[in-house]
């Protein structure tokens, strides 16, 4: 390839990635050469500015045409833009939490690394959302995973953090191997790693044996990636890892990493398996993806049931939120299973709502657990007397997580219901499970509520608010209520700018 072809690509469309990469590299060098005495928090603010710059660059690209660089290894389409916005916003808020994070034993030596590892993980997630090539997608997945393994074990002297990192690495390794095995089948059948070419070749597949292998590949890829979104059958790591990891990392895993998991899942499943025709009982061949709906529905139902029912017994708040995040992955899987016309809207909006309500809850959780050093649910007792504003904020997040009208979480769930019921035949069983499980989730969400508002406080000492956490709580609470009352703000933005992802495979 000569220089002219190289320069003919529109590298400007990669600006957000370049900014994150540059800032991450700069931070790592600065961290190395800055004198030991300088407070490393400045690096965190630098990283935060970098993410904001990337958001600005991305917003300026929203009107840009679909572009592809180097045979689709990087592509900027509506899908990529929409989900990159969520990833960047989530990472920015998480970084604010990380700046204020102060564990008991301190983290003087590693604080710099803490910040730029978030950025490299974010870079991996962004690559996952805007690539049309298996290899680049996989590299993005690995970049995200490897960075988060280290992040989970950031508290070197803390036994639980070590345990969490260890479990995360081992489980992650297994799941990656499974995903890769599935990808190898797909590659073996098509002889290309480019998703677009793949879907063309697979569209003409006739041999039933090949379809059988593709079915296997579908399950391998889905099961492997269910690790990233923490859904059944790869959900068992979540509670242990969430409990041991530093709180900002837990927030990152439950929001940004999960979003990235759904992004790569959508990209792979829709690009590869939606075009495979399967001759069924009827005369019309159906896509393989639709044939798999029953299995997906089973896994979605199992995820919701496991997450919500086990959460009932948790006393540790971080574990409780881990199970709650498993349950939320189940809700989003319902939207994925139904594959209705509104699937993208429902998933995108739910992830957006989830980003704000969950990060807000984690901000308050970090404040309270780091103050007392205990993660017991009793620490929330009497929060209303100690810090009324904070309690109201937490109240909003919990109401939204539970899906009460007036909050973004409700609209998100409503979208999923509508999508599931609009299909012919409608998924009544799945919707039934989702409603019942939402009611079950009220028990533990409102358990937190009673602790905050009706129990006497264990100690009346003032909670000291730091600027980072305050900002996160305010932004998240405002967004949760705003998108709950005026969801069309987000949905109209989505419809106007991304054309319903019509350029997904072009």
């Amino acid at each position: 390839m000569d220089l002219e072809t190289l320069l003919s690509y529109e590298w400007g469309t990669m600006a957000p990635e370049f900014i994150i990469l540059g800032v991450a590299t700069a931070l790592s060098l600065l961290d190395l050469f800055m004198p030991k005495k300088v407070d490393r928090r400045i690096l965190g603010w630098l990283g935060f500015t970098g993410i904001l710059a990337a958001i600005v660059a991305l917003v300026s690209l929203i009107g840009h045409d679909t572009t592809s660089i180097l045979f689709d290894t990087f592509r900027l389409d509506g899908f990529a833009k929409a989900f990159k916005l969520i990833l960047l916003a989530g990472a920015a808020l998480v970084l604010l939490l990380a700046i204020d994070y102060e564990p008991k034993e301190g983290m003087k030596e590693y604080r710099g690394e803490f910040f730029y590892l978030f950025l490299t993980a974010l870079l991996g997630a962004m690559m996952m959302s805007s690539s049309g090539d298996l290899i680049t997608l996989f590299i993005g997945l690995e970049l995200l995973s490897l960075s988060s393994y280290i992040l989970a074990g950031m508290r070197k002297k803390n036994l639980q953090s070590n345990e969490s990192a260890m479990k995360y690495v081992i489980n992650g390794g297994i799941s990656t191997a499974i995903t890769l095995f599935g990808m190898s089948y797909v590659y073996g059948l098509t002889g290309t790693t480019n998703l677009k070419e793949m879907s063309l070749i697979l569209g003409n597949i006739a041999d039933p044996q090949h379809v059988y292998i593709l079915g296997l590949a579908f399950f391998l890829i889905f099961i492997g990636l269910s690790f990233k979104i923490a859904s059944a059958p790869f959900h068992m790591w979540a509670p242990d890892v969430y409990e041991g990891a530093p709180t900002p990392v837990t927030a990152f895993l439950s929001v940004v990493s999960k979003t990235a998991g759904f992004v790569i899942l959508l990209r792979l499943l829709l690009a590869i398996f939606a075009s495979v025709p399967v001759q069924g009982d009827g005369a019309e061949p159906l896509p393989l993806l639709l044939r798999m709906q029953d299995y997906l529905a089973f896994l979605a139902g199992a995820t919701m049931i496991i997450g919500n029912v086990i959460a009932l017994r948790q006393r540790n708040v971080k574990r409780l939120f881990a199970y709650s995040s498993i349950a939320h992955a189940g809700y989003i899987l319902v939207a994925l299973t139904t594959m209705s016309y509104f699937m993208f809207d429902a998933i995108w909006f739910y992830l957006l709502a989830y980003l704000f309500m969950n990060l807000g809850a984690f901000a308050i959780l970090q404040l309270i657990t780091s103050k007392t050093g205990s993660e017991d649910i009793g620490q929330f007792a009497g929060l209303y007397q100690r810090a009324p504003v904070l309690a109201v904020g937490m109240g909003i997040f919990i109401l939204s997580l539970a899906g009460i009208p007036g909050t973004a979480g409700f609209i998100g769930k409503l979208n999923i219901f509508m999508g599931a019921l609009i299909r012919e035949p409608a998924h009544f069983v799945l919707v039934g499970i989702m409603i019942v499980m939402t009611v079950v989730s009220y028990v533990y969400y409102f358990g937190l509520f009673t602790q905050m508002f009706f129990r006497p406080a264990a100690d009346d000492s003032k909670l000291k608010l730091s600027p980072g956490i305050t900002t996160v709580v305010v932004i998240c609470a405002a967004a949760t209520v705003l998108f709950g009352i005026m969801p069309n703000l987000a949905l109209d933005f989505f419809h106007q700018n991304f054309n319903g992802f019509s350029d997904f495979l072009q």
Binding site: M1, D2, L3, L29, L32, Q209
Partner: protein, 124 residues
């Protein structure tokens, strides 16, 4: 269905080899046990260490620093592996590969600087 049977039959030979692989050592060891005389005494039970009297535990703890060194070695080994084919085919690959290689080497140099500053290159 016929194809599936054919496909599964191909695995029969794998199964046969699996059985052979398990049976062969079992039979060989059992025959050896039948043929050899059995006269044990204490000296026979000691570990054979090239004729030297064994003096401590055979498992030795290695210094953990070897591990870090090995990691560093692997990284730069892989770097050379990538550099060689590029150098050989430089004429054909042109300027694009040169830029890619520069980025690649630059990233690795940053890694080396990181290791250096974190005192990985020092033994003590």
């Amino acid at each position: 269905m016929e194809l599936l049977n054919l496909y599964q039959n191909n695995y029969l030979i794998v199964f046969v080899f699996l059985c052979l692989g398990v049976i062969l050592p079992l039979v060989a060891l059992y025959l050896g046990k039948l043929l050899r005389p059995y006269k044990p005494y204490d000296a026979k039970y000691t570990t054979y260490e090239s004729g030297i009297e064994p003096f401590h535990d055979s498992r030795v703890q290695f210094n953990v620093r070897y591990y870090i060194f090995a990691l560093m070695f692997v990284i730069f080994d892989v770097e050379t592996v990538f550099l060689y084919p590029w150098a050989v085919a430089y004429e054909k690959l042109g300027i694009f590969a040169l830029i890619e290689m520069l980025i690649f080497v630059l990233m690795l140099v940053i890694g080396l600087v990181y290791a250096w500053k974190k005192k990985v290159l020092k033994w003590t």
